[in-house]
Symmetry: C3
Subunit: 139 residues, 3 copies
Amino acid sequence: MDQAEFTVRTQGAGLYEVTSELRQWVRGQSTAQGLLTLFVRHTSCSLLIQENADPDVRTDLQGFLTRLVPRGDHPDMAWLTHVLEGPDDMPAHIRAALLPVSLSIPVAGHAPVLGTWQGIYLFEHRDAPHTRRIAAHLA
Amino acid sequence: MDQAEFTVRTQGAGLYEVTSELRQWVRGQSTAQGLLTLFVRHTSCSLLIQENADPDVRTDLQGFLTRLVPRGDHPDMAWLTHVLEGPDDMPAHIRAALLPVSLSIPVAGHAPVLGTWQGIYLFEHRDAPHTRRIAAHLA
Amino acid sequence: MDQAEFTVRTQGAGLYEVTSELRQWVRGQSTAQGLLTLFVRHTSCSLLIQENADPDVRTDLQGFLTRLVPRGDHPDMAWLTHVLEGPDDMPAHIRAALLPVSLSIPVAGHAPVLGTWQGIYLFEHRDAPHTRRIAAHLA
């Protein structure tokens, strides 16, 4: 069994790919066949597996989330009560509730069995720069 | 490997924290380093990791879900077909589809590696009191 | 530890049950007590645990998702940029982001500890027929 922590420095809302860093770590461990679990240790960002080919897909994902859960200063969100930490904070918590906090991916031949088009992303929901930590477990 | 089942008695829709009960169980098992997996055995409630500091965050999360998936007697939901079990039933299934049924959290030093602000919740989506069961696995 | 891959042939958007196939596989493995993890190797379909009794529940789930994330040729989605692969493609990626890509279910007595009403589904989001692969891990 192996455990590690990965750090992602974010510069505003959006998707930050971590696939190659995770692949490299898995390749270096003694567990050739097993299960990789990722867990993000925050409540205002998410993990997400999504298409890694056309960047427009990530743009549109971000566009959808922004429409589904608008910022706190949008008229549609005037009912929010948790507003002291800024107009991006409570929407970030809501988006974090709707997207994964943990992911589990089988590993075979020292590699996660991702499909051809699957990339692993840290999805930041806050505006300000953050240092995000992802706990990884392989067994 | 250890397995257990936790019971949560709910009194209407909302978030019920189970963090301390789970922490205590993990602390008492022989597995010091491993992976904790939680699985809720129902289709009208969810598991959720969310902010455990300001209770307004939970109020707003509940407020958002109520707006995203209104009750069956709301005009916007007149298209629903599964209505025999009450106006809160089909919306509960939809909310359960959008939020996690399982969570996996690495464990180190006999404790889940939760971030500072992360709490683990049973999110009840039904109105009537229910006894909810969460299966836990640690290995 | 056991690993396998399951194939689901889909004929358009909707829920395809895989519970009995997975139960049968788990029953045939040497691991009597453990953890079953499922991972879908695509970015335009999902895994979902939902009610297996009244088929109207699945109809309404599909109805809700269609309203929440309309097709690309719907006026509400005119802002999409990733449109070259057809009006069902980008909405499929968005729906896949909102629903699970992986599920973890404890196993006891050679069976996943599903609740009485829980079934496991492959949720297809594309119109055209697809062959979908689910990686399974039991340990």
